[in-house]
Symmetry: C2
């Protein structure tokens, strides 16, 4: 006779789940209906412009038969499209249910649970600050996490990052480039050296690379075998709602990841829309150009108002608040965040060390950015 | 200096990935275009009828804004719809990227890797034959697998299944009901006793239950805390292409699974289409009724031709071939499978012990089933 609730694993009991950005009640209901309350959502780094018409046609144009049947398990057409776009082959590409699934697959495949590696160390390596999902996924796998702090006010990547990762025996290490939440971009030379010096698999998380002047593809063109590049359709291609990302790596690494992936991990509408989005580079580029122009305008406007804003190569800016006679920077950051929220503008505030005096603001449309600035002007002394 | 390819974990090296049913070149291309070569696909248990018009409208009716923004992380509207349909609450529901993701989450949360449990046993329990993805997912987690053979020609569930699972220390056990690949259905009383006797979490995989006369929901209505019911939108609701499934369990179990799920594991089009599909029960029921009528006709027609076909409560039949003067049953099963394939009709042949003389045939439309029978008549002596 069954008497007590079976327990989940201790690492799951201890787990604090990842907390995504707030989602206001502005959303369309699934039954149809209008967008609601006029909120401006600048807290999750979505692209402010809609996906291209070609994407909508590709998604809406699927026949009922396409929904009825299992999708292509190998996502062949999407992978061919992505491989061609990047000067690689379909065998260099894995399609995933958002970039997050790629992160999970990498940890599943390369990082043994802690009990396997007590003496050997191991697990994942990451800088702090960084994407807070990395340690959550590691805790789910029960694999160790080595955190290497970024240095100083500028959050610089430590020159000995690879050495620290090797000393800890990390099988897998992450670098977000351009970096979130600072927006800074490492040079190709730095990435090349990091990949060469690190003994494990280096994951270059390029979720924001569409807004940056260079990317890490040359490392794969040169045949790097321990580099995995993560790409997301959420930001650059305005498809956060679809959950589609992909990985680029050597065919050997892709083959290994493929073994651990759910057979039908991406759906037919996502495959169709993502392929169409990649094919319409002209449109995507136009959203990137407009976002970059607005990013630079927003950063300049924030600096004029006393914020310290470093150059960003993403679709967001990290702004350190000026502080005032009445308020510490930390207090002021919270005040601004709350005032914006009361005025239906959502931005991101991290209650984490070294970030409590800063606000992360997604670059919106010109009108949205103006709205943000107007509210700021009414709050600032 | 990096010199050698980092190795994947040994359990991943050893892994043989799950092999899904063949996908012929009949598929619509993602760029549009027609269905191709007239193949009849009776090998993956897809519903032979298309999804309802309401589903197509829900999916096609999403605005570009819905794709641009992250989807509801909690899939609230879908979960409310599912909860209401089943006489439960949204807190009893978790939405997943296909039922397969639910299986993975359950193993992740409840089953420690082997090294944690050398003395304690543990891992998953399952019957044989069963869904071949279960052991693949267990191997990915590196957790033990206890296989309990079904008994005799009728593949009966052993009366001491719970005892065998308890003796092995399984944290999690699966029962597919109705069973694949035989199509048989356990009574509610059997399920109730199994849940009461088993010390771990019992997963009742109801992927095919829409074609059966009863389901396990009464166990949840009665407050069973160690029961998880898996439901799929792939078969009953003609949405295999969308990758959408869900789990039903106590709010405590759902809360635990929720911690380990990717925040945005289901996309906005899937959420909208799946909710619309559940709301249109009249249409779905009409596809089930037509499929059940055809299943019974097909089974009778196969029996007339000498096949041994047991009653099925799913949308497929398992048919033991009669054998002949010239061929053993095993040889004949392969011959029939190949002959059908040459005539563009795909069915499933398992080269596994106790199944080599049998063919699993998905119930198609009346015309497709007639086509199958005509080809059989030309092959059989």
């Amino acid at each position: 006779m069954w008497l007590a609730m079976p327990d989940e694993r201790p690492n799951i009991q201890r787990l604090h789940a990842y907390v995504p950005g707030e989602q206001p009640g502005y959303r369309e209901t699934l039954g149809g209906g209008d967008f609601g309350d006029g909120s401006v959502k600048l807290n999750s780094n979505e692209n402010p412009y809609p996906p291209s018409d070609a994407v909508m046609q590709a998604s809406r144009g699927r026949s009922p038969e396409a929904l009825r049947l299992y999708p292509p398990a190998d996502a062949a057409e999407f992978r061919q499209t992505a491989g061609k776009l990047h000067g690689l082959s379909a065998q260099h590409v894995i399609a995933t249910n958002g970039g997050d699934e790629l992160l999970r697959l990498l940890i599943t495949v390369y990082c043994p649970p802690a009990t396997d590696s007590v003496s050997a160390g191991g697990g994942i390596g990451m800088t702090d600050p960084s994407y807070t999902l990395y340690p959550v996924l590691a805790h789910i796998q029960d694999t160790p996490v080595t955190v290497v702090p970024r240095e100083g006010d500028q959050f610089r990547l430590p020159a000995d990052y690879a050495q620290q990762l090797n000393d800890a025996g990390c099988q897998l290490a992450f670098i977000v480039n351009p970096h979130a939440p600072t927006g800074q971009l490492e040079s190709l030379e730095t990435l090349r050296k990091l990949a060469a010096d690190f003994d494990g698999i280096l994951v270059i998380d390029e979720a924001y690379v569409d807004f940056a002047p260079h990317n890490a593809l040359p490392l794969l063109h040169d045949g790097s075998e321990n580099v995995v590049i993560l790409r997301s359709m959420s930001k650059g291609y305005s498809l956060a709602g679809l959950r589609f990302g992909y990985g680029l790596a050597s065919p050997a690494v892709i083959g290994t990841l493929d073994k651990a992936r759910d057979s039908y991990n991406t759906d037919i509408l996502g495959q169709a829309a993502a392929a169409a989005a990649l094919r319409d580079q002209t449109y995507a580029q136009s959203t990137w150009d407009r976002t970059i122009a607005e990013r630079n305008r927003l950063a300049a406007a924030l600096r004029e108002r006393g914020f310290v804003v470093r150059d960003s190569h993403t679709n967001f800016v990290l702004a350190a608040v000026p502080g005032g006679d009445q308020q510490s920077p930390d207090e002021q950051a919270k005040t601004i965040y709350e005032a914006l929220k009361q005025n239906s503008v959502l931005i991101r505030y991290f209650s984490k060390p070294r970030l409590t005096d800063k606000l992360r603001i997604t670059v919106g449309t010109p009108a949205q950015n103006d709205q943000l600035l107007r509210i700021l002007d009414s709050v600032l002394p």
